[in-house]
Amino acid sequence: MAIRQIGYKESEQGGGAWRRVPAFADPKTRAYIRRNWPLYAMLAPTLILLAIFAYYPMYGVVMAFQNYNPGLGFTRSPWVGLANFERLFASPAFPRVISNTLIIAVSKLVTGQIAAIALALLFNEIRRVLFKRTMQNLLYMPHFLSWVVLAGILMDILSPMGLAGKVQQALGMEPIIFLGSNFWFRPMLVVTNLWKEAGWSMIIYLAALTAIDPDLYEAAAIDGAGRFQRIRYVAIPGIMTTIILLACLNLGDVLQAGFEQVFNLYNPTVYETGDIIDTYVYRVGLVQAQFGVAAAAGLFKSAIGFVLIIISYRLADRYAGYQIF
């Protein structure tokens, strides 16, 4: 008590009321500051960087409502209200990029998740450790290569003198220009996405499968369940929470059609089926220098993406009990 009172002094008006003096004079506060100021100092560099490279660009979305002039910046460029959005929504390209984005993203998410679950279930049935590990490492590998590298490899394979070209020749088929065909472009995106990511995304399911109590398999076997029945009634229910969790989180990504992949594989012939919001923003903004319209398209995506992520986290929390933060 004696110590505590040092921080207080008797009110000048008297009457025995204790009035607080400014917080920095309170010894407890001073002790807290003396001990803990490094915690704030440690956070400072990151907060400053985020302020510059994350929050300032967020403020920069005002350029969607401006006739942006790089010389004048965000603060002094003239305001034009919703004119950029009107031009964006009136553009024939806009409905196309929205539907392309949704179609491409959803097909990749659905096929990706199904493939990952199936792969994990099959790998889980393999008992030869060395074989299993070798195959896992082979299938994880493409995840670590860039889309520039994978697109370069793919273009070579699909060229007339590449592997696919030779197979087509051997079968006596007309060569198909996969990346120049509006019929084939989206399937190519789905397939190459599986090539790069299916193996890697199975990891999370494999981890969930190893957490299943082996006694459950034993019990099922004793009850006469065969291989497929054990997968159906033990393994799949055992990873159901993980499946639901990833399905919920995927919802937050339905506008993420994969800029790096599309940008490295597409060309003007397939804009019809392959142009997505991100590639459109890049071309309109950085190539054609229509900054306001491109920023408006970007803001449109960020705003809807924000709502989707919040919903997906809510669902993940409710249906899988998963709190991300």
Partner: protein, 292 residues
């Protein structure tokens, strides 16, 4: 595990192994094909005679790359951004994760500060405002445009969760000995979290090595391109006239086998890191790397 001797079971195993083996080979085949092309001479590659084994084996494509100043320069820029970028981002991740791993009672304002970080994952200004910020800061054509923005909030969250598992007794003992937060972090937390930090560092390095888009938009002079960006202009923008290979005798070489060699060179550092990476996959999962 249950072991039954049953023909249906055996049949399943045979098919399962064969299927997975086929997938594994399918994943490997493009890389082997690429390597074979890069080690074949021009005529064989252009004629389409190469599958999985070099035809008319030669190192000429690799010699051409080594002798090309442009590729050499791009390679060095990539090494520089990867080393500097990984070091800076790991330092920032560590010093950011530590305070945030404290409870709001120990570290006043913790929850508000945490939300400042998390919010950047939920909403973003988008490409165009981001580009304008980098440009107005005068970072175009500097390596800092590729390095400085790189605080990964996901890494911070993962490491923060790892730090939360460090036994409280250790920290309290250090506190009694008069250790400051700074000392506690570097003498207790970091040594106990080496596997987690190594994992995050490897993933950061892979990210930096593979990044190409930032190089493409922030470097207006292609002499400043990192390797992946340079590779893109040569391998993918085939029509691009912006970059001419400064390999003078390009015509003598097969464009195709030369491109294959360049792609291979760009993946070599990843292959060298891969054995270390795969040892850390499991740690990555324990860190809750849902976002991969």
């Amino acid at each position: 595990m249950v072991r039954e001797k049953d023909w249906r079971n055996t049949l399943f195993d045979v098919f399962n192994h064969a299927f997975i083996l086929a997938l594994g080979l399918l994943a490997l085949a493009p890389l082997v094909n690429l390597l074979a092309i890069s080690l074949s001479n021009s005529a064989a590659a252009m004629g389409g005679y190469v599958t999985f084994w070099p035809v008319n084996f030669t190192f000429e494509n690799y010699f051409a790359i080594v002798k090309s100043p442009a590729i050499y320069r791009a390679f060095l820029i990539s090494v520089e951004r990867t080393v500097l970028g990984t070091a800076i981002s790991m330092f920032l991740t560590i010093v950011t994760a530590y305070p945030l791993s404290k409870s709001a009672r120990e570290f006043k304002g913790r929850n508000v500060l945490m939300w400042l970080l998390v919010f950047t994952l939920l909403f973003e200004g988008g490409l165009i405002p981001y580009f304008m910020v980098i440009r107005s800061l005068g970072l175009l054509n500097t390596i800092w445009a590729l390095i400085v923005p790189g605080v990964s909030v996901w890494s911070v969250i993962l490491l923060m969760n790892f730090f939360k598992e460090v036994p409280r007794e250790l920290e309290e003992a250090a506190l009694l000995d008069g250790a400051s937060h700074w000392q506690t972090l570097w003498r207790i937390y970091v040594p106990l979290s080496v596997p987690a930090i190594a994992t995050l560092a490897l993933f950061a390095a892979v990210w930096h090595w593979n990044a190409w888009f930032d190089g493409m938009i922030f470097m207006t002079n292609n002499a400043n391109y990192p390797l992946q960006t340079y590779l893109r202009t040569v391998v993918i923008d085939l029509n691009s006239t912006t970059i001419q290979m400064d390999v003078t005798k390009v015509d003598a070489l097969s464009q195709r086998s030369l491109r294959a060699a360049m792609i291979f060179v760009a993946t070599v550092p990843i292959m060298l890191l891969y054995p270390f990476l795969q040892r850390h996959f499991v740690t990555g999962i324990k860190l809750g790397a849902v976002k991969g």
